[in-house]
Structures are given as structure tokens and as C-alpha cells.
Amino acid sequence: MSAVIDTPGHGHADQDDHAYHPSGLMRWVTTTNHKDIGTMYLWFSFTMLLIGGVLALTIRSELFEPGMQIVNPEFFNQLTTMHGIIMVFGAIMPAFVGFANWQIPLMIGAPDMAFARMNNWSFWLLPVAASLLVISFFVPGGAPAAGWTLYAPLSTQMGPGMDLGIFALHIMGASSIMGSINIITTILNMRAPGMTLMKMPMFVWTWLITAYLLIAVMPVLAGAITMVLADRHFGTSFFNAAGGGDPVMFQHIFWFFGHPEVYIMILPAFGIISQVIPAFARKPLFGYASMVYATSSIAILSFIVWAHHMFTVVMPTAGLLFFMYATMLIAVPTGVKVFNWLATMWKGSMTFETPMLFAVGFLFVFTMGGFTGLMLAIMPVDVQLQDTYYVVAHFHYVLVAGSLFAIFAGTYFWIPKWTGRMYDETLGKWHFWLSLVFFNITFFPMHFLGLAGMPRRIPDYAAQFTGFNEIATIGAFGFGLSQLLFLYIVLKCGPLGKGEKAPARPWEGADTLEWTHLPSPAPYHSFHDQPEVK
């Protein structure tokens, strides 16, 4: 069974080479090509990573010593808030959508995404939202400063910066919903003949589930921030007790979005790791079906655990117990995944190129973040640790060493297919070791700080916390500077086009369609003929 696709340029004899597109800037602005759009997502997310990183380094500089040094407390609050929003919505999520755009059509043998124009719009809404966020720093009152969670009544009180933040989140939400509808439809409708759901690569599976989560919860976030906007400007009383509302209601609605959101940021990472480890262990993924079921279980459980973010808010004991046990239950499917990755490596012929290094690093460090999550799930413990640096350590272990390391692993793994060039293996290994070491120097001491009672989101601290804070700040600068090495490695393969030419299948253990059926770099339009999958 073969397929023919209508490509841009059909009907124009002079443009009928299947690679026609406008040149220069307009190519990127008007493109309907999933590879162009994926590339833009990835560069956008890296830019946001650097911006969010600069905010983080400013925070760490202020916290190098006790007392107020560099910024005033109001601006410090803006820094923590915007660091969170930019990293979550600007860096991590768009990076995974970039991977989805590049890889899903290649891995399921589809000619492009199902809705190619909408795909373009999903991307081009992001720079709009990012502009609004950046502008918010320069309006009276400054950027949003209520924390990335935008809790009412803080968020119902601030200046126009908060409105800019709200509209930015609306626009990013619209982008995510459109992107997810596109991804789900592509996966459900555009697989190559013979590729049943249970034959899909794990990365595709994780994105199918992630896209479902996004469509389910991004509208809820839109609802929550619409309520904030209405309370701010239209005289409503959603979060005002005098009018019969309740500020705690914001937390419930927000975390109904927020907890699935944290899985939105980790499930695609699981997918990348599930591609990388089998490739470099030269064995098929152990327990494929159980991986699918575990991922689905995590997604379902994510809807019934939200109030574990609110253990210190008044709740009936039955509620506390329910959310505590439901949360601890998530350790089961997550454990299934970790053990499956270990079993995949068991007796494999392993080599440790950079993608594999990041994947193994992910296993160690993400799992530590998982364990601290389990501790935080225990309600009586959480009451002590709520809003301390222990929580900061926990979620940076899962978001940086989890999501970000998986993004690095995926980039090194697929960049030969994207650019046709091999990355510099020596520099890649340097990038890994510097990242791993500096990551731990930054965030490991935060566990001790949190257990000792240092609160998060506060620009000053008691003198006994100084030592660990100094170590963390040094680590943070090391980690930030190491990412410039990553930038150089990617520039070298991509725009500069240096490095040795990549074969179609540089990783002998990789067996998905993009390696077995396409040259490197993948042609502008791939899978004119859909391959038959056995």
C-alpha cells in the first residue's frame, strides 16, 4: 500500500520539486512544514531557557549571602514568578512540542501533521505570549509577582503586569490546546499502514497521553485565570469571601490543572528515555505493554491527587488521607517504568554516547526527585516541608534532571537526523558531566536547607543557611554556563553545518522508522510513500 501526498507547490510546474517554500524569513513565518515548525519550537524554547536561566541566576546571586544585596524584595518576587512561568510554559513545554513536531510524523510514517496550518499558528502564538511576559517587567508595578501559581488574593491585587501575565497564559494555553489537538489527531489518524497502537514507538504513546492531558486541563487553567481577571476588573467575587467566594477555591481549580501539568512536563521525557535506552542497550524496550499501561495510569491518577499541593490548607481529614494515598499510588506505575528501563539495560550491549549518558543520568537523578516526591506526599511530613527549599529541590530534580536532561538526551539522539551532522562527541560528554555535576551542586544542598527550615520565595535568610546557599549559587552559575557549551554544540551541527556527516542510522540499536526508512538529514517532505509496518 503506498500513499501519495499533495505537497506545497503542486500545480506549479516550476515548484514541483517537493521542497518548495518561500525563502528567508517568510519561509519560517508562513511554513506549514512540521520540521520547520519543530525547529522553531526548539529554538524558541532554548531562548526561553536562557531568559528563565538569567532570572534564576539573578535569584541565586541575591541568595549568595544573607541580607539584601542586589534586588529589592518586590523585584525578587517578580523574578521567582517569572522564572517559573517562563521555564514551565516557555522552555519545557514548547521543547517537547518541538520534539513532537519533528518526531511524531517521522516515527509513525506520516507525511506531516494532520493540521499543518494550525500547527504554524500554535507556534506563532508563543512569541506573542513571550512578548507580553517580557513587556510586563516594564509596566508600572512590574511583572506578576504572585508566584507561578498566581494564587488569589495576591493575583487579584497586583498591577497591569498581572493582566499581561494572564493574557500571556491564555495565549499559551490556546497554543497548547491547538498543538495537542493536532498531535492527537496525527497519531490517531495518520499512522503508516500496519502500525497498530500497540506497535507505536513509546515516545509517540507518551505524547498521545500528554496531549490528552493538555486538552483536559489547559481549559481549566484558562477558566481559573479568567476568574482572576474578572475579580480584578469586573467586580466578581470568585475569590472574595465577603462576596461568598473563597481564595482557596483558586488553589483547587489551579491545581486541578497544575498536577496533570507536571505530568505533561515529564511524560514526553519518559518517552524520549524509552527511545534512547533501548537504542544504546541494543535490546528492545523491556515491558512495552506495561509501559503503555503505566503511562496511562499516571495520567489517570494525575486527576485525583491535586490537593497534595494544599496539605497546609484547611481540608477534612478524609480529604487529606485520600489525597495522600492517591499520591503515593503514583509511585507504583512510575516504579514500573524505572524498573523497565533498568531491565532494558540488563545484559544489554551498552555503549555510553552522550544521549545514553543523559538517559542514565536521568534515571539516577530523576528517581531521586521521585523519592523526595514520595516523602512530600506523606501529609504529616509535608506539613513540615511545605514551602521550604526541600520542595524547590524536589521539583528541580524532576524538572531539570528529569525533563531538561531528557530534552538534552533527545537532542543529541536525533540531531544527526535533523541536521545530517554528528554532534561533537567529546564536547557532548563534557556537557553531560558538567551539567550533572553542577546540577547536583546547585540543588542537592537545597534538601538540607529545606529540612532545616529555609522558606522558599524569600530574598533573605537566617545566617546559618549561608554555607549551603553559597554552594548552590556557585553550582547554578556553573550549570548556566555549561548550557552555552550545549548552544555551541548545536550551532556547530545545525546552522554552521560542521561536524562529520551522519549516516542514515548512526545508532545501530535504533529501529524506529526515521532511522530505518529516511536518510540523514530527513528530507523536507518525508514519507511520500507510507511504509508498511509489520
Partner: protein, 283 residues
């Protein structure tokens, strides 16, 4: 699968999307200025809105032309069906947030404010009974009764679901006159619904002292019915587009997903209304 089913249409590069992005930038930027006292922001919102409507008109125009010129086969049709289904699911979740707020207020926050602790410490006179505008609301207001205009509106929307189905039968039978007549009646019912809702709102503001700022009752009442009314408006616009396209001779008995998508959307709006009628007006 037929041969035709395997042509998957990938559209040419297009500049509508970037225009849409600028439209949203103007609307968001303008709205922020407007809400914060700089009235000039209104023009930003207006310019952005006009640009957005223009963009949608032209973009959807491209889609209609592609559809009518036969570029969409079975497989594209399946994509559109999945796409519309998931879009409606996202809308369901949006309304779920606001229904969640309503239930939270009715079951938790208002009774709690009338509970023992609040009574002793803050508001001794507050009973915590629904409907309530909260303990801090000093005026009197009358809640909206279910068995007047709202019940009539329920009847209108339910009837419009039936008329739309008859129009769809006309489409499938190839009976264009039937299609156009019943589609027109559906639109008329939708417009009447909106007219009644405008009447209801002005009645609330002028006679019942029920406003958006009337505590949590006014908040949930106007936000829920308001977002619903907004969706009915969108639905009416889409139905009208379908009517114009029917008059222009578009659609075939076996190829009219645009019409079906609008019908799905209309039924979704209908179901939301039933929930509103039950939980906002009636119970």
C-alpha cells in the same frame, strides 16, 4: 481503503496565522491598557478584533475552497472529526471549571461562611443559605426564577436541536429546500434565544438588582450564562455560515463535515444550557 483515501492534503505555506498572532497581540495589549484606565486601549482591542475576523474569514475561505475543489478525502475527513471532537472536549473542560466554581460556592464556601467559626468571629448575621451574595453584600437582590424566560429558552434550544436534525436529514436526502428551511429556522430559534437572554439580563439589572457584582450568586450567574451566551452567538454565526454555504450550493449528501461539526457544536451548547438550567436557575 480506496486510493483516494491515501492522498493526504498538506496545505501550502500561508500567512493567515501570523496575522492572527498579531491580532491577538493587539487585542491582549489593548485590553490590558483598557482595563487599567488607558481608554485608548479600546482601539487596540477593536483593531485586533477586526484583524482576527478578517484572518478567520480568509483562512476558513481557503479551507472551504479546498473542500469544494475536492482536495479532502476520507482521511482528511477523519482528521476533521477527531479535531472537532477534541476541541469540543476542551470546551467541556472550560465550562467544567466554571461549574466547579458554582458547586464549590454552593456546597463549600457559602455554607462555611455561615458556619460556626465565621459566625462567631466575622459575620454573626450571615445564614449561609443559597442563593447568596455573600456576607459582605449589603443590598437586597432577587435571584432569577427558573420558570419564566429561562424555561422558555430551554424550550427554544431543545427545539432548535430538533430543527437542526431535520435540516441534516434534508442534507443527507439531497433535499436542499428542506435543508435551507430548517437551517434557517434553527438560526431563528438561536437568535430568539439570544434576544430573550438580553431581555433577561436587562430585567436582572434594572428590576432584580442582580448584577455581575452581586456577590458569588451574581458572579456565577452572569459568568456561566454569559459564557454560554457567547458560545450560542458563535454557534449562530457558524450556522449562518452553513446557511450561506448551502445557498451557494456547497456540500454533498455524503460530504458535509463542516455542517456536522457545527451541529455537534450546537448540541454541545444545548447540553451546557440544560446543565445551566438545572444548576443555575432551577435547583
Amino acid at each position: 481503503m480506496s486510493d483516494h483515501a491515501q492522498h493526504y492534503f498538506v496545505p501550502q505555506p500561508s500567512h493567515w496565522m501570523i496575522i492572527g498572532s498579531f491580532a491577538l497581540l493587539f487585542m491582549a495589549g489593548g485590553a490590558v491598557m483598557w482595563f487599567n484606565g488607558a481608554d485608548v486601549g479600546r482601539y487596540g482591542v477593536l483593531a485586533g478584533f477586526v484583524l482576527l475576523v478578517f484572518m478567520m474569514f480568509r483562512w476558513f475561505g481557503d479551507v472551504v475552497r479546498e473542500s469544494e475543489s475536492g482536495k479532502y478525502g476520507k482521511r482528511e475527513d477523519v482528521s476533521f472529526r477527531w479535531g472537532m471532537s477534541w476541541f469540543i472536549f476542551s470546551e467541556v473542560m472550560f465550562f467544567a471549571a466554571f461549574f466547579g466554581a458554582l458547586f464549590y460556592a454552593r456546597v463549600l464556601s457559602v455554607p462555611d461562611l455561615g458556619g460556626l467559626t465565621s459566625r462567631e468571629l466575622l459575620w454573626p448575621d450571615f445564614s449561609g443559605q443559597w442563593p447568596s451574595a455573600g456576607p459582605g453584600f449589603q443590598d437586597q437582590f432577587t435571584p432569577m426564577a427558573a420558570w419564566g424566560v429561562p424555561a422558555l429558552n430551554t424550550l427554544l434550544l431543545l427545539t432548535s436541536g430538533v430543527t437542526l436534525t431535520i435540516a441534516h436529514f434534508g442534507m443527507v436526502e439531497g433535499n436542499r429546500a428542506k435543508l435551507k428551511l430548517w437551517l434557517f429556522l434553527t438560526i431563528a430559534l438561536g437568535v430568539t434565544f439570544l434576544g430573550f437572554q438580553i431581555y433577561e439580563y436587562s430585567h436582572a439589572y434594572s428590576e432584580l438588582n442582580l448584577k455581575l457584582s452581586t456577590g458569588i450568586y451574581g458572579t456565577t450567574f452572569f459568568m456561566l450564562t454569559g459564557f454560554h451566551g457567547f458560545h450560542v452567538t458563535i454557534g449562530v454565526i457558524m450556522l449562518t455560515t452553513m446557511l450561506f454555504r448551502s445557498i451557494a450550493g456547497h456540500f454533498k449528501p455524503d460530504h458535509h463535515f463542516a455542517f456536522e461539526a457545527v451541529a455537534w457544536y450546537w448540541h454541545f451548547v444545548d447540553v451546557v444550557w440544560l446543565l445551566l438550567f438545572i444548576f443555575v436557575y432551577w435547583v
